[in-house]
């Protein structure tokens, strides 16, 4: 918003004020991006009407917004997938089997019983590669996913460590993990480079595959996906819709295909 039709007019520690460079009737001309202390505060202020939109919600929290006449729920295809990333030190053949095992309907159903996932395929028949128990690092909202993964691993399911995000990050950087829950970008494909290229600062697991680097450089996304399948650094479990709750007075709001609020300049308001 700041680099497009809007310019930053003011900012504080908790609020950013954006103003449309050229005011337009029937469109949003002023945007205040407010940071509340807790998600609960953000919910409360949205329900009270102090805030006109709240974005990036878990589907279970929609319960609070359903049937509220002043609000509308808006969905868009998700960009990120809840996933389990695998340490590249694990054998490639193990990772292929583990990815098949984890990206299975049973794990998906156990972890996301009440949510709709984009992924529909997979098999419950994938064998568990033999070996020592695998520890799973987890953080934030992923404990259930970690538990579902552990149950799918059976005898190879090791401890689930539910940690603070910074602890998880430290362990990733140190390579001190075998499996870790995460929510990597899955779309747009052009951004895959951010996550999987060998030298990308966003490549937190240290995955490195020259074929992947070449495919990314060649912008050959089919090949890049093939590498992800053949030398998997990750098992994508569930890509869910992106959700936003927006003031009902705003007409036809859409969420952007790349960034959630990139289409905000086009949202229509009452004259």
């Amino acid at each position: 918003m700041g680099s497009g039709p809007f310019a930053v007019a003011a900012k504080t520690g908790t609020e950013l004020h954006l103003v449309r460079r050229h005011a337009e009737a029937g469109r949003i001309n002023d945007v205040y991006v407010a940071a509340y202390a807790t998600p609960r505060d953000a919910f409360v202020h949205t329900l009270k009407g102090d805030a006109n939109a709240i974005v990036d919600l878990e589907s279970r929290w929609l319960e609070f917004f359903r049937g509220v006449p002043s609000l509308q729920i808006v969905r868009a295809a998700g960009h990120n997938a809840d996933a389990i990333m695998l340490n590249s030190k694990l054998a490639r053949t193990d990772r292929v089997l583990l990815a098949q095992l984890l990206a299975s309907p049973q794990v998906r159903d156990r972890a996301y019983a009440d949510a709709e996932c984009m992924e529909k395929g997979g098999t419950n028949q994938a064998p568990v590669p033999p070996g020592a128990p695998l520890r799973i690092l987890s953080w934030g909202p992923f404990e259930r996913l970690a538990l579902a993964a552990r149950r799918a691993l059976g005898e190879r399911g090791g401890d689930v460590a539910q940690l603070a995000p910074e602890e998880v990050l430290a362990r990733l950087r140190a390579g001190d993990f075998e499996m870790v829950t995460a929510r990597p970008l899955r779309w747009p494909l052009t951004l895959m480079a951010l996550v999987w290229r060998s030298d990308s600062p966003e490549n937190l697991t240290g995955y490195s595959n020259p074929e992947m680097d070449r495919a990314i450089d060649a912008r050959d996304w089919v090949a890049a996906n093939a590498v992800l399948r053949d030398d998997p650094p990750v098992a994508f479990i569930c890509t869910r819709d992106q959700l936003a709750v927006i003031d009902a007075r705003i007409k036809n709001p859409r969420l952007g295909p790349f960034e959630l609020l990139e289409t905000l300049p086009e949202w229509e308001t009452e004259q």
Binding site: R40, E63, A113
Partner: protein
């Protein structure tokens, strides 16, 4: 008054006689219907609240029962902690189960349970915390025995399901349910506008009502909620935990059905009334037309009988005169002349009486009349007739001029009629007095005689048409009815007081008008 107006008036009178009872019945009926409608709505809301409370109670009981069963089944096993953690995959509503013992660090213990409660749980007692806001939803901590001394299984029960259950309860278009804990905290709200209070923990208007209700106070079944909206409510409580369910519906919507029924009833009553007026009007017109025709025939018959009788009488006299004239006797000539003069005068009066009946009273023709002068004029007109009977006509003036507005000709005809009647009733040598009175908005002319008086049984229909019993001359019985017609058309009245053997007083009362200059009133008849 036209037949149409009479018909309308009759129909309106008949309808009006039904309106009062109808209105009274309607008022009582509407009140009863309104009260019953409101009570029925409140009963329905209470029933819904009780169903919801039973469902919530069952849900909570099931969660606790499941927790107890799992704790007993898993709590004693070696890898109990791992198995308990796995339970959340199969029973997500139970939250994350923890195995708690005396060694469990304080930061890992359920946050809302007090040390005393934890100690009790470790001794094998089931404990439950008050509700609180955990992360984003109301929650409640619970610990149950694990089957092994010194260990308990604890969890944080996620109450989001409660929100789902309450949200599913819809009453009409705008009715909703609310769930409160024992302290009045809103745990779940069907109304979107109140959900912020679920997350913020702020009390709502119903919080105090819920707290009072759970303590045994009577349920508030109708009240104003904060936006000033009048709502009906039904309440139910859960014994364990001591929560309350309220189901509310805006009174306007809850009573819409009853109001519509009342509206239709009212409309039906008014339509019925309107139709009865219309039919009554049409029927009354038909009946009046029929009556009028009958009356015309009857009147024509009466007139014909009177005319036949009177003209027959006159014809007899004229035949006698003719016989006298046929004798060619000069001695009879004065008598013949005198008789003819009398008969001509009589026939003239006869014609004049008929002429009076055809003259309408038109207020536009009214002129100022001073009654003292008017009485003198009447005396002049009646004097010759009175003199024939040896009766004097006297005038008793009012102390001051008395003015009225009227058709001078017709009023004088009416006054002369009364004066002649008085003369006819008087004995020779007696007097007829015309007395004028004014004041208090009245201009009165009294015609008094000292005759034999009128029998009381005749007075009531004295002013009815064709009721005269005088058949000695031209007395069709139209005189007094015509007097009344004229006076009433002037906005006045005529009445009679009579004492048998002493005489009668006919009192003619008109409206007094503003004084005028004396030149405005001619003293004699045109």
């Amino acid at each position: 008054m036209t037949r149409r107006r009479i018909a309308l008036l009759l129909a309106a009178l008949v309808a009006a006689s039904g309106v009062l009872p109808l209105l009274l019945l309607s008022a009582f009926g509407l009140q009863i219907l309104r009260q019953r409608g409101e009570r029925a709505s409140q009963d329905a809301l209470k029933a819904i609240a009780e169903q919801a409370a039973a469902r919530v109670a069952t849900y909570i009981a099931q969660q606790r029962e499941m927790l107890r069963a799992l704790a007993m089944a898993v709590g004693t096993e070696v890898d109990a902690e791992r198995k308990l953690a796995d339970v959340s995959l199969d029973a997500p509503s139970l939250g994350k189960l923890l195995l708690v013992s005396a060694e469990t660090p304080a930061r890992s213990l359920p946050r809302m349970l007090t040390p005393a409660q934890i100690a009790a749980a470790l001794r094998g007692t089931e404990v439950l915390s008050e509700t609180y806001l955990a992360e984003l939803v109301p929650a409640m901590d619970a610990c149950v025995p694990s089957g092994k001394q010194g260990r308990a299984v604890c969890t944080t029960l996620d109450l989001l399901e409660l929100q789902r259950q309450v949200q599913r309860i819809r009453v009409g278009e705008q009715g909703y349910a609310l769930a409160f804990d024992r302290t009045g905290r809103l745990l779940a709200a069907g109304a979107g506008s109140m959900r912020a209070a679920v997350l913020s923990g702020e009390p709502v208007a119903e919080s105090s009502l819920a707290t009072a209700f759970v303590k045994g106070a009577p349920a508030a079944v109708r009240f104003q909620n904060p936006p000033g909206r009048d709502v009906l409510a039904g309440w139910a409580s859960l014994p364990d935990p001591a929560w309350t369910i309220a189901v509310e519906q805006p009174a306007e919507e809850a009573l819409r059905g009853a109001r519509s029924a009342l509206g239709f009833l009212g409309l039906g009553a008014f339509v019925t009334l309107f139709l009865s007026i219309v039919f009554g009007y049409l029927l009354a017109r038909r009946m009046l037309a029929s009556l009028e025709l009958e009356e015309r025939f009857r009147t024509a018959g009466q007139i014909a009988a009177g005319v036949t009788h009177d003209l027959g009488h006159r014809l007899t006299i004229l035949q006698q005169i003719e016989h006298l004239a046929a004798t060619n006797d000069a001695d009879y000539l004065p008598r013949i002349r005198e008789s003819l003069t009398t008969e001509v005068a009589t026939m003239r009066r006869f014609v004049a009486d008929f002429a009076d009946l055809t003259r309408e009273v038109k207020p536009a023709d009214f002129l100022p009349i001073e009654l003292n002068a008017f009485a003198e004029s009447v005396r002049n007109g009646a004097q010759a007739y009175a003199a024939e009977s040896g009766v004097r006509v006297e005038v008793a003036h009012a102390a001051a001029p008395v003015w009225t507005l009227g058709d001078r000709y017709l009023l004088e005809r009416a006054a002369l009629n009364l004066a002649r009647n008085a003369v006819d009733a008087s004995k020779p040598g007696s007097a007829v007095r015309l007395r004028i009175e004014g004041g208090n908005g009245r201009a009165a002319l009294a015609v008094e005689d000292q005759g034999a008086g009128i029998p009381p049984e005749r007075i009531k229909d004295l002013f009815e048409s064709f009721s005269s019993t005088k058949r000695s001359g031209v007395h069709l019985g139209m005189g007094l009815p015509n007097v009344r017609r004229i006076v009433v058309a002037h906005g006045g009245s005529v009445s009679v007081k009579s004492t048998p053997g002493k005489g009668s007083i006919f009192l003619l009362i008109l409206r007094e008008s503003e004084p005028q200059s004396s030149s405005a009133s001619p003293a004699t008849m045109p």
